[in-house]
């Protein structure tokens, strides 16, 4: 069927100066294929190397943009009129650098790789930091110092004393304050030229697209799998680079995901690990300086992406071990079968990442054990009841703080040493926060232990808060 395509002035040079071309086609894709088959030099102006219509080219069938219809499969009835409409945009230069800024950034300005142009790019850039914790702290501080014009901060947490060992953006006097307020004050002190936009909320499927949309680059400083997948998916769907970093004990990882020619986090890990398999830093610990190293690697990559120079960590996973002091690098391929960034993608919107990562399902699947609060436990002990109190933490943790009278049997030994428990009496198990003691109860039950087992809700932390503040929290 014959269809006419109207050509804007900008593209006529590629089709012998004609303003209109007639082709035989039944869909928009066929029509453009016929047009570019006849005029091959036009093709790179309409399509990228992957054959996707360029973002600054709009194609209309009648009065409707094919992106709002069926894309390239949009039908073109006989006699219909198509038109290629270029995107027309521009603008004035952003305000240049002030004398104060020229002085402040002079060590950047004399690097030819940065210079005035690069520093202006940094000033024009909008970077979103997801999390202001261990990774977010050095990230925010170095990006602010480097003169990134706008920093967005997302966090919902309060500063806790246990954060200060590594989250150097927060200070001792900030304990109890919202992290976002403490981070904003510190960044403004480092560089008052930086515009700071704060989002005091948990990043969720409901708000992620809206928050990420206005930023050029997203830096992932989160410590959990649901948010990591959420950030990855939202970045790929919005076409934004995702500067990734993660830490655990002495080891860290970093990479750059979400670039058009590179893999995404799902290419590396299509599925999250089973819940509980990979402990968080709160459970497993982390060397305080480690996020400083990984976060500054992320900050470096962010700055390189803004400058558009150097060799970015795209398609490369950097592995760091602080204990052996070794860096290694793995090559990452874009997975052609990736459900998110592959050509046959099946994920076209954000999902429920708690469910995806098996969180919630975990607590309903494993029957929650009987539980007791620290206050009630204290009342029972004071009333002279014969309670066996079992501490399932590790010996190095027991060296930090103990509940008086508790017997230490680490989680890994609890089944083998079940004979040390008296099944005729109730046993109350505790750990740091209640997770491991709950696992210990499940393991004892699975091994056939029949005596009454109760979990201390909130672990030794709750004991310290509710009963005995002389027991330190950690």
């Amino acid at each position: 069927m014959s269809v006419s395509i109207l050509i804007p002035g900008a593209l006529r040079g590629f089709i012998d100066g004609r303003a209109e071309v007639r082709v035989e086609a039944t869909t928009a894709g066929e029509a453009l294929a016929a047009l570019t088959a006849e005029h091959a030099s036009l093709r790179p102006h309409l399509f990228d190397d992957a054959g996707v219509l360029r973002s600054f080219v709009n194609v209309y069938v009648g009065d409707a943009d094919i992106r709002t219809l069926a894309g390239m499969a949009t039908p073109v009835p006989a006699g219909s009129e198509m038109m290629i409409v270029p995107s027309i945009a521009g603008g004035s230069p952003q305000p240049g650098l002030t004398h104060e800024e020229i002085g402040r950034y002079s060590r950047h300005l004399i690097l030819p790789e940065v210079g005035m142009e690069g520093q202006q790019k940094l000033k024009d850039a909008r970077v979103l930091l997801v999390g202001t914790g261990g990774l977010g702290a050095p990230l925010g501080m170095y990006l602010a110092a480097a003169g990134v014009g706008t920093l967005g901060l997302v966090d919902f947490d309060l500063v806790d004393a246990s954060n200060l060992q590594r989250q150097i953006i927060h200070g001792t006097r900030d304990v109890g304050r919202p992290k976002i307020a403490s981070a904003r004050d510190r960044l403004a002190d480092i560089n008052p030229n930086v515009k700071i936009e704060t989002f005091e909320t948990r990043l969720t499927s409901a708000n992620a697209m809206e928050i990420l949309r206005d930023f050029d680059i997203v830096v992932d400083g989160t410590d959990n799998f649901p948010t990591r997948y959420l950030v990855n998916d939202a970045c790929v769907l919005l076409g934004k680079p995702n500067v990734y970093g993660s830490i655990f004990r002495f080891e860290g990882q970093a990479s750059v995901f979400g670039m058009p020619d590179g893999p995404c986090y799902r290419c590396l890990y299509p599925e999250p690990p089973p819940p509980g398999l990979v402990p968080s830093c709160a459970e497993g610990g982390v060397l305080g300086v480690l996020p400083g190293i990984v976060g500054t690697i992320q900050a470096t990559e962010t700055i390189k992406l803004i400058l558009g120079g150097g060799s970015p960590l795209v398609g490369r996973l950097l592995l760091f071990d602080a204990w052996t002091m070794k860096f290694r690098e793995l090559k990452l391929q874009k997975d052609p079968a990736c459900a998110l960034c592959g050509p046959n993608r099946t994920i076209d919107g954000l999902i429920d990442y708690e469910v995806f990562c098996g969180i919630g399902a975990e607590t309903t699947a494993a029957a929650a054990p009987a539980a007791i609060t620290a206050t009630k436990l204290k009342q029972r002990i004071d009333a002279g009841q014969a309670v066996q109190l079992i501490d399932v933490r590790e010996p190095h943790e027991a060296a930090i703080a103990r509940i008086p009278g508790a017997r230490l049997i680490p989680l890994g030994e609890v089944v083998a040493r079940a004979g040390e428990l008296d099944p005729s009496r109730e046993a109350v198990l505790h750990c740091k926060g209640g997770t491991r003691s709950s696992k210990a109860i499940a393991a004892l039950r699975d091994s056939g232990y029949t005596g009454p087992l109760v979990n201390l809700t909130g672990g030794i932390g709750a004991w310290s808060r509710e009963v005995d503040s002389s027991v330190p929290t950690y």
Binding site: S87, G90, G91
Partner: protein, 142 residues
């Protein structure tokens, strides 16, 4: 060389002043003479559809507006040969952002508006290798 009808030239200056401190934008309708002179008969203002927070230094023409105008202009036997936009409190020189978003063929006229007064308008055309804008001589008269 680009030749403006007086009224068309006055219109782009007035539009730049009216939309200050935001960027004004619009299209240039005319014909390319066989002698190489691009003659602008009409300048037509269009909406700057960028978000409010960016309008002071960015402009974007809605593709549906451009589609509608392209069809109308073709119906009149003329064509869209360029675009204009204002630079509030900046010189009439294309920015890096302008260069990154430029198309060949079109004339880009930039109007410098300082403190609400249009002080200069200069015409530019993208070089063949797209690396820079070359100045285009601008004359006006009826």
């Amino acid at each position: 060389m680009i030749h403006f009808a007086q009224a068309a030239f006055a219109a782009i200056l007035a539009h730049g002043e009216a939309d200050f401190p935001h960027e004004a934008c619009g299209l240039l309708v005319g014909v390319d003479d066989p002698d190489g002179v691009r003659r602008i008969a009409v300048a037509r203002g269009l909406a700057n559809v960028r978000e409010p927070a960016a309008k002071h230094h960015r402009f974007l023409i809605a593709p549906e507006d451009l589609l509608r105008e392209e069809k109308r202009v073709r119906g009149e036997g003329r064509e869209i040969v360029g675009f204009y936009h204002s630079h509030p409190d900046h010189p009439a020189v294309p920015s890096r952002y302008d260069l990154e978003h430029a198309w060949p063929f079109y004339s880009y006229v930039v109007v410098a508006v300082h403190a609400g007064r249009a002080v200069e308008a200069l015409a530019w055309r993208l070089s063949d290798d797209r690396s820079r804008f070359d100045p285009e001589a601008l004359v006006k008269g009826d």
